[in-house]
């Protein structure tokens, strides 16, 4: 009897131990490349591709960071990226909450059809549109400009955001809105003062996803941006590679600057990521 108990006890301990070992190995594989990126960003060019590789930079230097910041204009690219991502997020959230409100709280002729058309946007691969979008941007004089990035990032984000928000808005009890209506509040007031304040979690999710998508976007920026002063961070980093016959220290110093805000946002708002993913996928 006691041996059986002992066995069961051991088994109960062995389970978590094995689980943690496997998980830790996996997590190390996920994180190690990032640590190596950070490490290389503190190496001078002579030490970036040595055999055996240096995991702790020796001698360590911050010259890559000072160089990308002062000579390579990284501050400018950072500001460009911020402007583009923030403007995109604000505009996209405004337009998609309005659409979601119409879809969720009103019935009107053609509602289902319009919603289906909107969902088409979730199914078309973004890259399929890049050629005609380029021609469109050229026609409207949006080539090589930050507004040219913003306008198309907003367009690309509308489907997913509206879809996400509509589900949430629809679940808000209609009695609240009816009470406001009785009190004489018009639709805009109800949208602005009732629906939006009640939807903070889903707004947070939509904000984070939209911001990150435009912060990380590369293909469209590569296609329409020509002048160095209009580059966003991903574009600038990618062009570092060619321009400097790959000075890895510089590339990774710039990369570190670009990904640190993302990692901070992710760690702080982790639960909104989870909510966004699950409401968009599993529950939907």
């Amino acid at each position: 009897m006691s041996t059986m108990k002992n066995y069961a006890y051991k088994k109960r301990l062995a389970g978590p131990a094995l689980r943690y070992t496997v998980l830790t190995v996996g997590a190390v594989v996920m994180v190690l490349p990032f640590l190596y990126l950070l490490s290389t960003s503190f190496k001078s060019q002579a030490y970036v591709l040595t055999i055996p590789p240096q995991f702790i930079p020796h001698p360590a230097t911050v010259s890559n960071y000072t160089e990308v910041w002062t000579q390579d204009n990284l501050g400018r690219f950072l500001v460009n990226s911020l402007i583009v991502a923030l403007t995109t997020t604000v505009l996209s959230l405004l337009l998609s909450t309005m659409m979601a409100y119409a879809f969720a709280r009103f019935s009107f002729f053609g509602r289902e059809l319009l919603f289906k058309v909107l969902l088409l946007g979730l199914m078309i691969p973004a890259m399929m549109l890049i050629i005609p979008q380029f021609i469109l941007a050229k026609y409207f004089g949006l080539i090589d400009s930050l507004p040219g990035l913003v306008v198309f990032y907003v367009g690309a984000s509308l489907s997913l955001n509206t879809f996400l928000l509509r589900g949430f808005f629809a679940a808000i009890p209609s009695e609240l809105e009816q009470a406001m209506e009785v009190d004489g509040a018009n639709a805009w007031t109800r949208y602005w003062r009732l629906i939006l304040p009640l939807s903070k979690p889903v707004l947070a999710t939509a904000t984070i996803f939209t911001f990150l998508a435009s912060w990380d976007e590369f293909a469209w920026a590569l296609t329409i941006i020509n002048s160095p002063t209009n580059r966003t961070l991903p574009l600038a980093i990618a062009l570092f590679q060619g321009q400097n016959s790959t000075l890895w220290g510089l590339v990774f110093a710039a990369s570190a600057i670009a990904i640190v805000p993302v990692i901070v946002v992710f760690v702080v708002f982790q639960r909104y990521f989870v909510q966004g993913l699950t409401s968009g996928a599993v529950k939907g």
Partner: protein
Amino acid sequence: MTVLLGTPRSRNPVAEGATPPGRSGRSRLRPGRRRKSALTPLLFLAPGFLLFLGLIIYPMTQAFHMSFYDWNVIAGATSHFIGWDNYIKAFHDPVFSRAVVNSAAYMAITVPPQIVLGLGVAILLNHKAPGRTLYRALFYLPVVTSWVVVSLLFQYLFADSGVVNWVLHDVSHVTSGNISWLSSRWTGMVAISALGIWKGVGWSMMIFLAALQGVRKELVEAAECDGAGPWQRFRAVTLPAIWPAGAFVTIMLVIGGFNVFTSVLLITNGGPADETQVLLTYMYTQAFTNLDFGYGSAIAVLLTIGVFVLSAIQLRAYRAEGDDQ
């Protein structure tokens, strides 16, 4: 994509009743309000929807349209209608066929590991144990990082005197010399696929983790009482419950696999000599390097149709299998 998996509305009873039942009744009582309330939703809808039509739907139709033209980029020049020529050209173009094979290979190499590893990690994390949030965050880290950064990172890791070669040759002696990963077709595809798997596992983990939370504990315990082993419990209880999530993950990953672009562009740029071109890098080269917008559009259209057909096939397969579960 969710649309493919059944109408979201039907699972959300609140959404169905979104239109307050009282509203139509009231406007019938007060006919003066009716026209006003019919206009209101359209005003909310118009700005966003018009933008969406202009920036997404119109270009979509244009992509089809342009694929039938010898498109002339220069302003004022006329473009000639050439019928199916761009498509015929694609079928005779060896680089196009190679790009199809490369894209399919990338999909085939990256999708199964992402599903298996993602599900595996999700199952391991599906316990209320300390550190769960931390592990989840670590596995998800590559997902939130930009493709540009991680592509350059992997290019660096797979460099001739990079870490991968050091581990394989100097540390473990698996290889007899340094492999020049990025200078031939299949080794290049291996490096690109390794990145795809590494970056994607966290995403499928997150979806499976959410799905696993919907597995009813009573059922698992009941199965355990009936003497079902871990594998039987997984087969009989867990698997049916996470089946829709599995379908979603598979379809999305297959679509994502065929849409691989940034990593290939930055790691090999389709080279050497177009050996590692995938569909989107080839489309991009045709359009923006060779300025052959018509041919580029034809490739984009073929890709889109291919992805739609594949998604539909998978959806049917999953539905049929799901009914058997």
